[in-house]
């Protein structure tokens, strides 16, 4: 891949952010949670939206959510040096749902349950060795209320 000037700047910005303060010590990333698009979320979290889709990131989410209020999501990765795992729901008003900072003792595997307002792509972003990798999946949300 050719290194363009823009990518270099983004990379440099990411490095600066990293050097300024390790994420684990930072306060709650308010800017990322207020961001309106997945790119803005990544910019706010990592100082870069330069992300590569990777088979080393495994996102487990249902094809059709039984109920958009409680959608089980799990993300794991076989990559080394995973520092952060973030879950972005593109169509949610605030796309960032959760962002996990991993310390040295943590395996790259997290599960949680999230709210989805409507059918949307869900993106799992993994930051490993300073680079961003992702996996995504569309989760269909049908709103009902007669079930059970």
């Amino acid at each position: 891949m050719k290194l363009t000037r823009r990518m270099f700047i983004q990379g440099a910005a990411a490095v600066t952010a990293l050097m300024a303060a390790p994420r684990a010590l930072l306060a709650w990333p308010e800017k990322a949670f207020k961001a309106g698009s997945s790119d803005e979320v990544m910019q706010a979290l990592f100082g870069s939206a330069d992300v590569t889709e990777s088979g080393s990131v495994v996102l487990n989410a249902p094809d059709i959510a039984e109920n958009g209020r409680v959608v089980p999501i799990s993300v794991s990765s076989s990559l080394d040096g995973v520092e952060n795992i973030s879950v972005i729901v593109v169509e949610n008003p605030s796309p960032l749902a959760a962002s996990f900072d991993l310390g040295p003792g943590a395996s790259a595997a997290v599960s949680t349950r999230i709210k989805m307002g409507k059918t949307s792509n869900v993106i799992a972003v993994v930051k490993a060795d300073g680079k961003l990798y992702s996996a995504q999946k569309e989760v269909k949300v049908t709103i009902g209320g007669c079930g059970g």
């Binding site: 409680v70 049908t142 009902g144 007669c146």
Partner: protein, 275 residues
């Protein structure tokens, strides 16, 4: 004359159909489900709709990893074990200290001539010990009921209809409620959960009737909360645009009596998690 005779014959026929014994009803109920869902084992119905909906079953298993009802169960255990102001506790009100008894509810109480449910007796226990009653549909009542159901998991439902005309009348009353159409939509409980179980109603699959009472109370994602069986009855009534009856009304208790008898012999699996 001939016409009157035909009418009488017709009435006798209709009446005859309702005269089946509860046990005949139950066996017919199981038979119906076996034919409707040939690939589902009878004991699997304790998982409700998840017995017949594999994709939803997968998500349910993930929820069951740490089901939200465990918070209510923990609260219920704490409440159950906390003595009343007079020093007594729930354990003093129930057989076997209230542990592992869910499978015997509801039952017919010969003294009062009424069907007694577990939730009703929880409040009777409170009243007997000078405590204010709890609301029947959710909250602390659902938590205590959830804990008591949990201590009974694996026990088989053992609903008894004694040789007492009043008990039989209560059963028949519950059965009539179950099969009677009501509300603006003109649906009975059975129209959705017997005749159309497994069908989609908008985005939801209608759950089968067999095993319905095994897994209550439930944490329903739709409610974001726990609810008792009678809360669900009320919800179903509202969905067909009927005014729901109060939780623990005589009609709902009789309905529970009938419906639970239909699942006799199945394991208690409450509390449950539903969408």
């Amino acid at each position: 004359m001939k016409r009157i005779l035909v009418t009488i014959l017709g009435m006798a026929l209709v009446a005859g159909l309702a005269w089946a014994t509860p046990e005949e009803d139950r066996l017919a109920f199981i038979d119906y489900h076996k034919k409707r869902f040939p690939n589902v084992a009878v004991e699997d119905y304790l998982n409700g709709v998840y017995a017949i909906n594999p994709p939803a079953y997968q998500q349910w298993l993930q929820i069951e990893e740490f089901p939200p009802y465990e918070l209510a169960m923990a609260e219920g255990k704490e409440l159950f074990e906390t003595p009343f102001a007079n020093g007594k506790s729930y354990a003093d009100c129930f057989p076997n200290g209230g542990v592992g008894i869910r499978q015997n509810y509801p039952y017919f109480d010969a003294e009062t001539g009424q069907v007694k449910t577990l939730e009703l007796e929880i409040n009777e226990c409170r009243a007997a010990n000078g405590e204010a009653p709890l609301k029947y549909s959710k909250g602390k009542m659902a938590s205590i009921s959830a804990y008591m159901a949990f201590t009974s998991r694996g026990q088989k439902l053992n609903i008894v209809i004694p040789d007492d005309a009043r008990a039989m009348a209560a059963y028949e009353d519950g059965k009539a409620y179950y099969y009677s159409k009501r509300g603006q939509l003109n649906f009975s409980c059975a129209d959705c959960h017997v005749a159309n179980s497994g069908m989609m109603i908008r985005a939801d699959m209608l759950s089968p009737a067999l095993g319905h009472p095994t897994h209550f109370p439930v944490y329903r994602s739709k409610w974001d909360d726990m609810g008792t069986l009678h809360r669900r009855f009320g919800g179903c009534n509202k969905q067909v645009r009927a005014v729901p009856l109060p939780a623990q009304s005589e009609e709902y208790r009789n309905l529970e009596y009938f419906l639970t008898y239909m699942s006799n012999g199945m394991e208690v699996n409450g509390p449950g998690a539903r969408k």
